[in-house]
């Protein structure tokens, strides 16, 4: 039997009390890498009690000292950059470049946390009345938790953990049981930092541990990234239990391509946006809307280039697209392609029944291009979370915007154009939280909040940027009079 991943609680690696385990496979080779425990409510309770006990001392640790831990943490991640990237490739199936890019963006979030001593400062005003001064202070709020997805196993936890603890909170992470190994290594580095016991904890598992975190009375707030259906459950459960919550859900990201766009450059970028991470990211381009003459050009250019993408094992540097996460994902994606075909769409490049020589047991779906997708069909409305790009036609800019705004999701949308007026109108009128202009993956850097509207986000304060400072702190007003 392969080794079982441990939890990290109260400054120590501990075995979960779980009786059930999730197998963790390399999705390209099918090799069993580890078993992830389905931790229990009791496991969570021990972690929360440790985090709560650590809070008072940690919040009174000077903020510059807390930030200094992040400096050391960053150095450790840089020193282990290639190792972490390889772990991500092996448990997720993405390419080395994608894994390196993920780790880089994780480091950006550590960089952001180093700014907490500046960002936590507040303001004040003298003489709001005669001899009376009023100030605000930001204080850490307690024990926070994050429930994170499989698709960015190293980066997404870092959207939350560094800022949360540098603000003076204590923190519990529950990563996806499909990809627990990058976070295991992340905690090995945190362990080397010698943080006080209980400041950071890792509880591996699925629904029981997530539910226990959401229902535990001593957890102040929960961050979540995953599907919309689960995000809604997380939001409702957390609010019912009186917690702060930020729940980032799924997406159906549209890209409008105008006739005035540089088609060659646009297609190059759209390839990365649609097929990067095999389409398994909440900012993946899902539908390209070709406006007017752009449609046929886009279709022809994409058809040639999509078919030429090199699919293979992520550890091979020349691989341009890796696997999807599991055989179950293969089945779901292939079924959706079939449904789309049944609805009358044209499967221009078909990634079904795909295989890679030497990796026949892998979870492969080839890059897929579907044309003539109609509104209200599966490819126009449902999140695929796989390497499938759909094409839709619009007669003009206004129709393209109408198509985009019909989506129940609002994570991201992009426009490719050389016309500033169209770009401006797009930014102004499209209902999505992250807008790209001539860039297909509108991913905010760590100092900006990660947008999301409609069914793509449940909550008030987003992850990252100043929103995260708001989320992880309590503002207190102090009114003083000395006589």
């Amino acid at each position: 039997m392969s080794r079982a991943v441990k939890n990290y609680v109260d400054g120590e690696w501990v075995e979960s009390g779980a009786t059930d385990f999730f197998p963790v496979h390399d999705p390209a080779t099918c090799e069993l890498l580890a078993n992830c425990p389905d931790s229990t409510a009791e496991d969570v309770d021990v972690a929360v009690r440790s985090a709560k006990a650590a809070f008072d001392e940690w919040r009174s640790t000077p903020v510059l000292v807390r930030a200094q831990y992040m400096h050391h943490f960053k150095v450790m991640v840089e020193d282990n950059f290639e190792k972490v990237s390889q772990i991500v490739v092996r448990e997720h199936g993405k390419t080395m470049d994608e894994a390196r890019g993920e780790v880089r963006r994780g480091i950006e979030s550590i960089d952001f946390a180093m700014s907490v001593p500046v960002l936590m400062r507040s303001d004040g005003l003298e003489d709001i009345s005669s001899g009376i001064d009023e100030t605000t202070v930001r204080q850490p709020a307690g024990v926070f938790a994050a429930i994170t997805p499989f698709n960015f196993p190293f980066m997404v936890p870092l959207w939350f953990l560094p800022t949360a603890i540098t603000c003076g909170n204590t923190f519990i992470l529950k990563p996806s049981p499909q990809t627990p190994l990058a976070t295991e290594f992340l905690f090995e580095m945190l362990d080397e930092l010698d943080l006080p016991e209980g400041v950071v904890s890792l509880v591996n598992g699925g629904v029981p541990s997530a539910t226990a975190l959401m229902e535990h009375p001593d957890v102040t707030g929960v961050s979540f990234v995953g599907s919309s259906a689960v995000a809604q459950i997380i939001y409702e459960t957390c609010t019912r239990n009186g917690k702060r919550v930020q729940a980032q859900g799924g997406a159906k990201n549209y890209i409008a391509v105008m006739p005035d766009a540089d088609i060659e450059a646009s297609v190059k970028n759209i390839l990365g946006a649609a097929y990067g991470c095999a389409g398994q990211r909440c900012l993946a381009a899902a539908v390209a809307v070709g406006v007017g003459d752009a449609y046929e050009q886009l279709k022809d250019e994409l058809a040639a280039q999509v078919a030429a993408l090199k699919v293979g094992y992520g550890l091979d540097e020349t691989t341009q697209m890796g696997t999807v996460i599991s055989d179950a994902a293969v089945g779901r994606i292939e079924s959706m392609i079939g449904q789309s075909e049944g609805e009358g769409a044209e499967v221009v490049v078909d990634g079904r029944d795909f295989n890679v020589s030497g990796y026949e047991k892998g979870s492969w779906v080839g890059p897929t291009l579907i044309a003539d997708v109609q509104p209200n069909t599966v490819m126009a409305t449902e999140e695929v979370f796989g390497p499938v790009l759909s094409l839709m036609k619009a007669d003009d800019f206004d129709e393209a915007v109408d198509i985009i705004n019909q989506s129940r999701y609002g994570n991201a949308a992009s426009i490719f154009t050389s016309n500033g007026k169209h770009a401006r109108e797009f930014k102004y009128s499209v209902n999505a939280g992250n807008i790209g202009v001539n860039i297909g993956v509108a991913a905010p850097s760590a100092s900006f909040p990660f947008g999301g509207q409609k069914d793509s986000f449940f909550g008030d304060l987003h992850g990252q940027g100043m929103d995260s400072i708001e989320f992880y702190t309590e503002r207190k007003i102090v009114i003083e009079r000395w006589v």
Partner: protein, 116 residues
């Protein structure tokens, strides 16, 4: 590795090229050149780490590793000049393929150091 079709493939090839050159120069007793190649290798590792931009990763076309194979069996001045020429040509061809300016600049600089 044949086609250098990704950001990582280009940089990993460059890193391996400099590692080979460092060993080559070391083997023929030119410690200054060996040290310079090793310095470039380390710089390229840092550039690969710090300049990979996840949101603009795009396929790369038109670069093939086989076009830049070094003959490291010839330690003569002519052999050294030939190796430098191949390295310079690689950097000259690779730099425009990279869409991150800082990374592109690093490749250009390496090319110049090889006399390109």
């Amino acid at each position: 590795m044949a086609s250098l079709n990704t950001f990582g493939a280009v940089f990993t090839f460059a890193i391996e090229l400099e590692a080979q050159l460092s060993a080559y120069y070391g083997g023929i007793g030119d410690s200054a050149m060996a040290k310079a190649a090793d310095k470039r290798r380390k710089k390229l590792e840092r550039v690969r780490r710090e300049n990979v931009v996840e949101i603009t990763l795009e396929p790369i076309a038109g670069l093939d590793a086989d076009d830049y194979a070094l003959d490291l069996s010839d330690g003569s001045p002519d052999g050294q000049a030939a190796a430098a020429r191949i390295a310079a040509r690689f950097y000259r061809d690779a730099a425009p393929k990279i869409n991150v300016r800082a990374a592109q600049r690093a490749l250009e600089r390496c090319g110049k150091e090889h006399g390109g």
